[in-house]
Amino acid sequence: MVARRRKRAARHPEDCIPSPLGYAAIPIKFSEKQQASHYLYVRAHDARQGTKSTWPQKRTLFVLNVPPYCTEESLSRLLSSCGLVQSVELQEKPDLAESPKESRSKFFHPKPVPGFQVAYVVFQKPSGVSAALALKGPLLVSTESHPVKSGIHKWISDYADSVPDPEALRVEVDTFMEAYDQKIAEEEAKAKEEEGVPDEEGWVKVTRRGRRPVLPRTEAASLRVLERERRKRTRKELLNFYAWQHRESKMEHLAQLRKKFEEDKQRIELLRAQRKFRPY
């Protein structure tokens, strides 16, 4: 390891960190204490022609390889030296569209454990992006003034957060169900209104709520019908009645035996290869 470090130091002076085409590399470390650093690979976000991207052009910085201990807040703090940061979004994979902003319930969708992520950082001004591209590291995620919890600290605080507040949960459930009930009621009212009313071409939609119940349009139901039909048909058929049928069923039996025999032979071959026939 030591030898390797020396070699690399000789090859690359500190100021030239290799980075892929179009990206700039910024070293990032958890704190002062660490020796080696990870590298953020950053690029100005630009969507190709024809693809839709909700991130603002020019003002968005695309960041790869964000270490797991780096949160949105700390990333925003680290990049604020380049210009005012409007928003930071951490994602599992690069994704052109902005994720739906609707707040996901923390009760029903607990936050996943983070791994290495990608980030989209939106600055207020385009100058922020260019400043970030020129940034020389190393960035420190956790400093004395802004400590980031990890290890035991993090787990204990996570545990404390995970102890739920039943009242909040109740409130959330109630509001959701109210909205849901309302939605259902509206849909029902609409369906009732349209019941039996022909559309412009004169078709009437048949629904479950009609006067006569109809077969539900599910796969299981249609399979059931088919099965019933098939059974009806087989009941009428005669088995081994004609001479040719008899002959054929015999032949079928023989074919089965042959097939079985081939399978067995294969099995034996395999066992022989594994030397399974040596009782010693």
């Binding site: 990890s150 796969e219 099995r267 034996i268 010693y280």
Partner: protein, 1152 residues
């Protein structure tokens, strides 16, 4: 920075490359992708993997030939199935002697013959004067008493004949023995040679002289003595050719008297041929008491006289019948696998051959039968207790003589002359064992479902794996004292001083009587027959080399097959005190017998053993055996080494030493029963509870360490009053680990449920909240509700109640096609939900039922899981899959019986894991016997067709016939392979330890994982390992975990499921799962093993989607991505701050 050749590491970890081939290719998850499937189809079939057979239509439906039809018909009539027929043929091919070898053996035999008849004669001397023997040559006999009247001279044999199995063509590989009878010339023998071992002395001298001459011949690679069937009076000379043929053949020379030399009437079992006056050196007793008969001694002489005639008889009756030959070869293989044919008093191939002849004579077998049918008929005959109860004699014997034979021997099987008992040396327990095995084999052959061939003929049954408990008696010289204590002098005289044989019968009888209802079968090891090499330095006269004396340093091993029903009682009920049998009972049990008054008013003799827990009750046989042996045979406890529960220590709880946790589990289950009753009776829920089902390992008795009631000490925690919970504190060690036990709660059906997945979740959450409220209100239980479950604290146990809605998986599955057709498609979420709320409770209740049938199930399953986890592989296997493998040992024990002790169950677990062909077979666990034979066949064929889509390890249960849900997410092929390799290594090691009569040594050796295969070791600080005390090597001191022994004032919810190592591992896997594998023992492991994935170290071109933890560097002018190892190693420490002590990179394992 270079890639780590982790491929080599894995190989290094898994042993020989040959084993590595077994790793699955083309199966597993990759196979699911359409593209790769196409590729595998195009390729030739992967090696060692069965493929579904594809025959063209023309081939399948062509006109059958006559030959083919005959062959098919024969298979149907003579064999079980075509597979069995092929298997039997293969096996016979393997064990049969090839013609080429036969020729070589014949040539060797001719050489031997020439040399034997040319040995020079010696002039006549007194028997006691053995000075004529050259220096260094000793007589291979224990000559006590030494003084015998008579003269000896050596003359070349009158006749040299090959007898036995070689002649009949039924000898089987690997060790081929050719028996050669040397007829001693009549001039050597005198009248009355049958008396006082004179014949045996002459026989031994004859051999000694012969050996001396043959040893100088360069033809022979080795010349040594052995003892015919272990009988120490009858040495035989073993000759092996020199050079490359040394292993090919062993020629055994047996001297025998000229025909008609001994008068048969003098050798009947009632006659005495060893005079007490001579044997004990006393003057003849004047009181005229009759001399004791010497049946065994007589039989041994008789055996020599009939060697040739028996050989002739066999060849005339069954000589040419191929089926008989095959059948006998199969039977010999079977006896060999069961270790029944070896040693003194074994059930030899010769007896089996004679049995075959007998069955032909009585028309049970016809000579046209196939080998398989012969095998079946013989087994059937052996198994039928009533007819072959104690005796069997072909028609020729006279009735009065038969009674004499029964008097003298425990097993009687007379030859056609009616004078020789062929089973004279076979003890009653050996015979019972043979019978037991025959019955098991018949059951196996009749069951038709499994691979009977493999289990019947190819699976070895060593004693330690076949019997529940095993005990060693050592040193054997104690048995001499036992003989005197049991007053066995006539037997000693009969056996020529062999006290092991003399004492064996009476000892086993005593033990069988004492163990009574606890015992199913008692078997003893047969003393092995030694081979004494002919080297001048080692003289056979040394007591070491005589069979029974040689065992002075050796041991006698007894195996006990226990009866689980009998094990539950601690009482041995005797007769009522005033009955005459009471005295007998008192005498049998000695001081342990007490008068006791029972509830029904009876006053009886009884013996009560001390045992509180299940594990102690299992070890009552130990108490019985030591007590009886000390009382009746004068064998002190120090000489009895009982192997029954050394492995129990590994599943014992933290503080207790007397129980293996069955009781603690039962307490938890009772508490669960109470809770379910409360749930049933709950008032005020919108829908009533319709079913409560357990879904946690505790509730099926398979949790390795049963939960104990928790009483948290409040000072140790940070209280969170408003939510009535406790939180861990930073300045204290990690609190005790409390795992909530999952309980699934079904509600009655209702049409009011919403039909939308999100809404169903909300309604369920509302139920969880309501449940918590009601339980608190109505029963005062501490509850905590979340969106998916409600945690309930009851009597110190924490239960996690999950409300389930039956239709929810279906709602999750519903997919609407563009035409508006609603179809059901499995989604990950629906499968997961179905597994948790439907299949898991079913499995739990089925295994709970299994535990009621087989009390040892809990111990076996827990030991097995303990071992897998201790090998750091626990996370590759789901809890349920390991439970099912353990259940298979009970439901499909063939060729054994269901285990009754954790020890034997664990050994069989290791055996099953290491030998099962996971690639080509599903493990069918027929819970509740729900699968019929036809269904099993169907499952097997379906398995073959769908192999590529199925996981590496496939376990089929009646509830889960296709998907193998418990192994869907692992293990991977590599992990399974690693487990197989480890099990194959652990099994012989553990068996050796347990069979070591000196004591097993450190039984935890096989539980310690090999750490040298890992690339990085992360050492954890014990302060934050909550289950530190559960480690295999339990630490002498650990940290206080904030528990009180008594219920404290605080009734807040304890810290649940807080296990820092597990949280740490989750983070590691999420962040570095693409680069490395992490291994950890959840039961108090102090180290995490990290293995780099071989593929991740290959330099990759830069891709925006896969930069996780990598860095870009230029190599050869190109920019490539490689893992940033140094930073990653530091990340290991950062992510586990406080928990991680050191990160030990073994950089020598990967190239830099």
């Amino acid at each position: 920075m270079g890639p780590a050749p982790a491929g080599e590491q894995l190989r290094g970890a898994t042993g020989e490359p040959e084993v590595m081939e077994l790793a699955l290719e083309g199966t597993g998850k990759e196979g699911k992708k359409a593209s790769s499937r196409k590729r595998t189809l195009a390729q030739p079939p992967a090696k060692g993997l069965l493929q579904p057979v594809k025959l063209s239509r023309a081939e399948l439906y062509k006109e059958p030939t006559n030959e083919e039809l005959n062959c098919l018909r024969e298979t149907e009539i003579l064999f079980h199935s075509s597979l069995l027929r092929l298997q039997v043929e293969e096996l016979l091919k393997e064990v049969r002697l090839s013609e080429k070898k036969k020729d070589r053996i014949d040539a060797f035999l001719r050489e031997v013959n020439q040399r034997v008849v040319r040995v020079s004669s010696v002039s006549e001397t007194e028997l006691t004067d053995q000075a004529w023997l050259p220096a260094g040559v000793r007589v291979p006999l224990h000559q006590v008493p030494y003084a015998v009247k008579g003269c000896f001279r050596f003359l070349p044999p009158a006749q040299v004949t090959v007898v036995g199995s070689y002649l009949l063509g039924t000898c089987i590989r690997p060790d081929i023995n050719v028996d050669v009878a040397l007829t001693m010339p009549r001039e050597i023998l005198q009248d009355k040679d049958g008396l006082n071992q004179r014949y045996f002395r002459k026989r031994a001298l004859y051999l000694a002289h012969l050996a001396h001459h043959l040893a100088q011949d360069p033809l022979f690679g080795s010349v040594c003595f052995s003892y015919t069937n272990g009988c120490h009076l009858k040495p035989s000379l073993l000759l092996r050719p020199r050079g490359k043929d040394e292993r090919l053949v062993t020629v055994r020379l047996h001297p025998c008297p000229p025909p008609d030399f001994f008068r048969p009437c003098r050798l009947l079992p009632t006659k005495n041929n060893v005079r007490s006056a001579w044997y004990r050196g006393q003057s003849p007793a004047g009181d005229g008491s009759p001399e004791p008969p010497t049946p065994h001694y007589n039989t041994w002489i008789m055996q020599d006289t009939v060697l040739e005639s028996h050989s002739q008889l066999l060849s005339t009756i069954v000589g040419s019948a191929q089926g008989m030959k095959d059948g006998r070869a199969l039977l010999k293989v079977r006896l060999r696998q069961r270790e029944l044919d070896k040693g003194q008093g074994g059930f030899t191939g010769f007896i089996v051959s004679r049995l075959g002849v007998f069955l032909v004579c009585t028309r049970k077998i016809h000579t046209t039968m196939s080998g398989y049918q012969v095998l079946r008929s013989v087994l059937q005959f052996l198994g039928e207790a009533t007819r072959w109860g104690k005796a069997r004699g072909p028609g020729l014997c006279q009735e009065p003589a038969l009674a004499d034979f029964h008097q003298a021997f425990s097993v009687v099987f007379l030859d056609s002359s009616g004078r020789l008992n062929l089973c004279a040396d076979v003890t009653a327990s050996t015979y019972h064992q043979v019978q037991h095995e025959a019955r098991l084999s018949m059951m196996l052959l009749d069951s038709r479902a499994d691979d009977g061939f493999q289990l019947l003929l190819m699976t070895p049954k060593p004693m330690i794996r076949a019997f529940d408990h095993v005990l060693h008696l050592r040193p054997l010289s104690r048995l001499q004292a036992a003989c005197h204590r049991l007053k066995l002098w006539p037997e000693l005289q009969d056996n020529g001083g062999d006290y092991v044989s003399a004492a064996l019968g009476p000892l086993t009888t005593i033990l069988e009587q004492g163990l009574g209802t606890r015992l199913n079968l008692l078997a003893h090891s047969r003393p092995p027959v030694p081979e004494v090499s002919w080297a001048g330095s080692r003289v056979p006269r040394d007591t070491k080399d005589i069979p029974f004396l040689q065992l002075d340093s050796g041991t006698l091993t007894l195996g006990l097959l226990l009866r689980p029903e009998g094990l539950t009682s601690v009482l041995e009920l005797g007769p009522e005190a005033d009955q005459p049998e009471a005295a007998k009972f008192r005498q049998f049990w000695g001081s342990r017998s007490e008068l006791r008054r029972f509830q029904d008013g009876a006053i009886r003799e009884a013996v009560v053993w001390e045992a509180a827990s299940m594990s102690q009750k299992r070890l009552i046989p130990h108490q019985v055996v030591t007590h009886l042996l000390a009382l009746h045979a004068d064998i002190p406890e120090t000489c009895v080494h009982y192997v029954g529960g050394p492995l129990d220590a590994l599943i014992q709880g933290l503080k207790e030493t007397s129980s293996t946790g069955e009781e603690a589990l039962a307490v938890a289950v009772r508490c669960y029963d109470d809770l379910s009753r409360l749930l049933w009776g709950l008032e005020g829920l919108p829908l009533t509870v319709s079913a409560v089902q357990g879904a946690h390992p505790v509730l099926r008795y398979t949790e390795v360490f049963p939960p104990t009631p928790v009483h948290p000490a409040s000072s140790f925690y940070e209280p969170l009053r408003e939510r009535s919970s406790l939180l861990p504190r930073l300045d204290k060690p990690c609190p005790a680990y409390v795992e909530p036990m999952t309980v699934v709660c079904h509600l009655e059906g209702s049409g009011q449920w919403p039909q939308d997945a999100e809404a169903v979740q909300r309604v369920r959450a509302a139920f969880q909240l309501r449940l918590a409220e009601l339980l608190t209100q109505q029963h005062g239980l501490q509850c905590r509700a979340t969106a998916t479950h409600t945690d309930v604290l009851k009597d110190g146990f924490v239960f996690r109640i999950r409300v389930a809605y039956q239709r929810e998986p279906q709602i999750l599955k519903e997919v609407q096609s563009p035409e508006g057709m609603i179809s059901l498609r499995d989604t990950p979420a629906s499968l997961c939900l179905e597994r948790d709320t439907k299949q898991l409770p079913l499995l739990t209740s089925a295994l709970h039922g299994l535990q009621q049938q087989h009390p040892a199930f809990s111990g076996v399953a827990r030991l097995a899981k303990r071992w897998v986890r201790a090998q750091l592989l626990g996370e590759g296997f789901t809890d349920e899959s390991l439970d099912l493998v353990a259940a298979a040992l009970f439901l499909h024990p063939e060729p054994f019986t269901p285990p009754s002790s954790p020890q034997v169950g664990f050994l069989r677990f290791l055996f099953l894991v290491s030998t099962f062909d996971w690639k080509n077979n599903p493990l069918i666990v027929n819970l509740n016997n729900e699968l019929t034979v036809e269904e099993q066949v169907e499952i097997r064929s379906g398995f073959l067709a769908a192999r590529a889509q199925l996981p590496v390890m496939v376990i089929v249960t009646p509830q889960d016939r296709k998907n193998s849900v418990w192994t869907q997410d692992g293990p991977s092929a590599q992990i399974l392979q690693q487990l197989v390799v480890l099990a194959a290594k652990a099994l012989p090691m553990l068996e050796k330890q347990l069979m070591d009569p000196q004591g097993p040594g450190d039984i935890r050796t096989v539980f310690r994982p090999p750490l040298d295969i890992y690339d990085v070791l992360i050492r954890l600080s014990p302060r934050h390992i909550p289950r530190h005390r559960q480690a295999v090597d339990s630490p002498a001191a650990s940290f206080c975990r904030g528990l009180l022994s008594q219920p404290g004032p605080s009734s807040l919810m304890p810290v649940l499921g807080y296990d820092p190592p597990q949280l740490y591992l989750t983070q590691l896997r999420e962040a570095f799962g693409d680069l490395a594998l992490f291994f950890y023992d959840q039961h108090g492991g102090e180290v995490i093993g990290v293995l780099w994935k071989p593929t991740s170290f290959q330099p990759q071109p830069f891709k925006a989607s896969s930069t996780k933890g990598c860095m870009v560097m230029s190599r050869g002018g190109e920019l490539v991505m490689v893992p940033n190892v140094e930073a990653i190693l530091e990340d290991f420490a950062v992510l586990g701050e406080g928990l991680v002590q050191t990160v030990e990179a073994r950089s020598e394992r990967w190239t830099v």
